[in-house]
C-alpha cells in the first residue's frame, strides 16, 4: 500500500505547490529540477533495484537526451514531434549499444564499464565544438509543442514535468510487476535459477537497460528545456554518481524512494549552497555518513515507522 501512497502524496504535493505559494520562478525552477532528476533517478532505481544493474553511467542517457534537443535547436528544429522522439531514441540507442557489451559482464566490472561508457559520451560532448564544446550550448528557444510555445509557460512546464515524472514512475512500476519484470527481479537474485527454467537473462537485461536509457532521454529532453542550456557537465560521471546517490538515499529496491531521494538531494544541495561557498565540504561527508549509517535509505526509515 505504501508503495502507492507515498509517491501519490509526493506527486499531489508537487501538483498543489504552485497554488500554495510556491508558484514563483525560483520555486518552480527548483521543483522542475527535482522532478526531472527524480525521473532520471526512478529509471535508475528500476535498473538498480529491479534488475540489479548498478550503472555508474546513467547521466549519459540524460545528457544525450539533452544534447539531442540542443543539436536540433542549432539546426532550427524545435518541433516536439521531432525533437522528443530524437531525444528518447538517441538515449535508447546509446544504451542499447553500450548495454550490449556492458551486460556481458557483471558486478564491479559492470559498474566500471558503464562508468567508462559514460565518460566516452562526456568526452564526445566536450569535443563537439559546433555545439559549444566544453562551454556548453545555449538554446535559441524551448521546444515547440504542436506549434505553440506551451513549454515557455511556467505553470504548463511544471505540470508537463509532473506528468512525465508520474508517467516514468507508473511505467517502471508496471514493468517490474509484469512478466518481463518478474524475470528481471528473479535474475537479480538468482540468475542461475532463471536459466534453469529456460530463460536467458541477457536479452531481458538488455531490454531493461535500453528502456531505462529511453526514460533517461525523456528526462534529458525536459532538462534541456528547463535550463535552455546544455553542457558536458550534464553527462559527467559526477552526475551519474549523484543519481545513484539519490536512488540509494531514497532506498534502492523501491521506485518511490528515488523520488524522495531526488527531492531531499536537490533541496539539501540548494540549501547548503546558499549557506556557504564550499558546500561540498559538508555534502561529501554527509554522503559518506548516510551510506555508512542509513542502510535501507529514507524509504527504509519510512517503512520501519509505518
Amino acid at each position: 500500500m505504501r508503495d502507492i501512497a507515498v509517491p501519490v502524496v509526493v506527486l499531489v504535493a508537487l501538483a498543489a505547490a504552485p497554488w500554495l505559494g510556491f508558484g514563483g520562478s525560483y520555486e518552480t525552477t527548483l521543483m522542475a529540477r527535482v522532478m526531472i532528476l527524480g525521473m532520471a533517478a526512478v529509471s535508475l532505481a528500476f535498473l538498480v533495484g529491479g534488475a540489479g544493474l548498478v550503472s555508474l553511467g546513467h547521466a549519459a542517457a540524460l545528457g544525450i537526451g539533452a544534447y539531442a534537443v540542443a543539436i536540433l535547436d542549432a539546426h532550427g528544429i524545435t518541433d516536439a514531434a521531432r525533437v522528443l522522439p530524437a531525444a528518447i531514441g538517441a538515449a535508447a540507442i546509446f544504451s542499447l549499444v553500450t548495454g550490449a557489451i556492458a551486460i556481458r559482464t557483471s558486478g564491479v566490472h559492470f559498474i566500471m564499464i558503464t562508468l567508462a561508457f559514460g565518460q566516452m559520451a562526456f568526452f564526445t560532448a566536450s569535443s563537439l565544438a559546433a555545439y559549444g564544446g566544453d562551454d556548453g550550448y545555449t538554446m535559441y528557444s524551448r521546444t515547440e509543442l504542436a506549434g505553440t510555445r506551451l513549454l515557455e509557460n511556467r505553470l504548463a512546464f511544471h505540470y508537463i514535468c509532473l506528468a512525465a515524472l508520474a508517467l516514468t514512475w507508473a511505467v517502471c512500476a508496471m514493468l517490474l510487476a509484469s512478466r518481463f519484470g518478474r524475470v528481471l527481479r528473479a535474475a537479480r537474485e538468482n540468475a542461475q535459477r532463471v536459466e534453469a527454467v529456460g530463460l536467458a537473462p541477457y536479452p531481458f537485461r538488455l531490454v531493461g537497460y535500453t528502456l531505462a536509457g529511453a526514460m533517461g532521454g525523456l528526462a534529458g529532453f525536459l532538462l534541456a528545456n528547463a535550463t535552455e542550456f546544455v553542457s558536458p557537465a550534464t553527462l559527467s560521471w559526477q552526475r551519474s554518481g549523484e543519481l545513484l546517490f539519490m536512488v540509494i538515499l531514497g532506498g534502492a529496491g523501491r521506485l518511490w524512494g528515488a523520488i524522495l531521494g531526488a527531492l531531499v538531494f536537490v533541496l539539501l544541495e540548494t540549501w547548503l549552497a546558499q549557506q556557504m561557498q564550499h558546500w561540498k565540504l559538508v555534502f561529501g561527508p554527509l554522503l559518506v555518513l548516510s551510506v555508512i549509517f542509513l542502510r535501507g535509505g529514507l524509504a527504509g526509515l519510512v517503512a520501519r515507522r509505518g
Binding site: 566490472h109 561508457f117 569535443s127 560521471w237 545513484l244 546517490f245 561540498k280 565540504l281 559518506v288
Partner: protein, 307 residues
C-alpha cells in the same frame, strides 16, 4: 605526420601509460585483495600532486618535496582507511562506490579551499631540465625520460615485491582467496591496511611525477581514475602484470589517437570537420578498445580469479 613526431607521441603515450600504471596498480591490488572498489583512488593521485607542489614550494626543492610528499600521501591513505574505508569492506560495491564518491567531493573541494581553484605550476627540477637527443636532431625533454625511468623502476620493484617476497605472496593469495588466507592465521585486516596505504602512496607518487607535466588542479584525479579503471578492466582485475600491459596500451592508444585521428580523417573530410570529428573519435578510442577487448575476453586480458 613525420616519423619524428610519431616517435615523440609514442614516448608521450608510454609516459602516460607509466603514470596510469602507478595509479592502476594500487587500485587493482585494493580491489583484488579486498574486493573493495575505491573511486577515491583518483583523488589520492591529486593529493600527491598537491602535496608535492606545496612541499616543493615550501622547501624550495623538488626532491625534498617528493621525499616529504610520499610519507604524507601514505599517511593520508592510512587516515582515509581508518576513517572511512574500513567501515565499507563488508558492504556491497554500491555502498563502496557512493561512500568513496563522497570522499571525492570532499577532497576536490578541500584542495580548492586550501590551494585555490587556479592550477598550480610545478617547475621541473634543475637537474632534469633540458632535453636528450633521441634521434639525430630530435630532442625529448629529460624530465619525461626520467618519469619513464622512474615508473619502470617502480614497476620492477612492485613486481619483485608481489612475486618474490612473503608479503607479496600473501597479497597474491589474498587476491585469489581471501577467506583462505584469513583461515591460515594471517591478520587480513592488517594486510588490507598495508596494501591500501601502499596503493595510496603509489598514486601519490604518480601525482608528484605528473606535477611538472600536467597542471595541478582540483578534479585532476577524476580523469586519471576513470582511465585507471579502464586499465584494470582491460588488464583483468587484481593482476599487476595485466595492469602494466593495459596501462601502456591505454596510454599509447589515447596519446597516439589524439594526434593521429585528425590527420587520418583529413584524408576524407575537410580540415575543420576532420579536427572536430578527430577529437571526438580520439577521446572515444580508449573506450572502443576496451569494449572490443571485453567483447572477446569479458574478464580482461589476464584474469586472476578462476570462474
Amino acid at each position: 605526420m613525420t616519423t619524428q613526431l610519431l616517435l615523440v607521441q609514442a614516448l608521450n603515450g608510454l609516459q602516460l601509460g607509466i603514470l596510469l600504471f602507478l595509479v592502476a596498480a594500487g587500485l587493482t591490488l585494493v580491489f583484488g585483495v579486498m574486493d573493495f572498489i575505491n573511486l577515491a583512488h583518483g583523488v589520492q593521485y591529486m593529493l600527491g600532486a598537491y602535496l608535492g607542489a606545496a612541499l616543493a614550494a615550501a622547501t624550495g626543492s623538488f626532491w625534498l618535496g617528493l621525499g616529504l610528499a610520499l610519507p604524507a600521501a601514505l599517511a593520508a591513505g592510512l587516515l582515509l582507511e581508518v576513517l572511512v574505508f574500513r567501515h565499507l569492506y563488508a558492504r556491497d560495491h554500491l555502498a563502496q562506490v557512493l561512500a568513496t564518491f563522497g570522499v571525492i567531493l570532499f577532497l576536490n573541494e578541500g584542495v580548492k579551499v586550501v590551494f585555490g581553484a587556479a592550477p598550480l605550476q610545478v617547475a621541473i627540477p634543475p637537474l632534469l631540465e633540458g632535453g636528450v637527443e633521441i634521434m639525430p636532431g630530435l630532442q625529448y625533454p629529460l624530465y619525461r625520460v626520467a618519469v619513464l625511468g622512474a615508473g619502470l623502476a617502480t614497476g620492477g620493484l612492485l613486481w619483485w615485491l608481489v612475486e618474490r617476497t612473503r608479503i607479496g605472496m600473501l597479497v597474491r593469495a589474498g587476491a585469489t582467496n581471501a577467506p583462505m588466507v584469513s583461515a591460515l592465521g594471517v591478520d587480513i585486516n592488517r594486510l588490507f591496511t598495508l596494501v591500501f596505504a601502499f596503493g595510496a602512496m603509489l598514486a601519490g607518487f604518480a601525482g608528484v611525477l605528473a606535477g611538472p607535466i600536467f597542471s595541478v588542479e582540483p578534479g585532476m584525479g577524476d580523469n586519471v581514475l576513470i582511465l585507471a579503471f579502464v586499465v584494470i578492466v582491460i588488464g583483468g582485475i587484481g593482476s599487476i602484470r595485466g595492469a602494466f600491459i593495459a596501462a601502456l596500451l591505454v596510454g599509447l592508444i589515447d596519446t597516439l589517437g589524439k594526434s593521429v585521428a585528425p590527420d587520418l580523417l583529413r584524408l576524407v573530410l575537410d580540415p575543420s570537420s576532420a579536427r572536430q570529428a578527430g577529437a571526438a573519435l580520439a577521446s572515444m578510442l580508449v573506450y572502443v578498445a576496451m569494449a572490443a577487448i571485453l567483447a572477446f575476453r569479458p574478464a580482461g586480458l589476464f584474469p586472476v580469479r578462476a570462474g
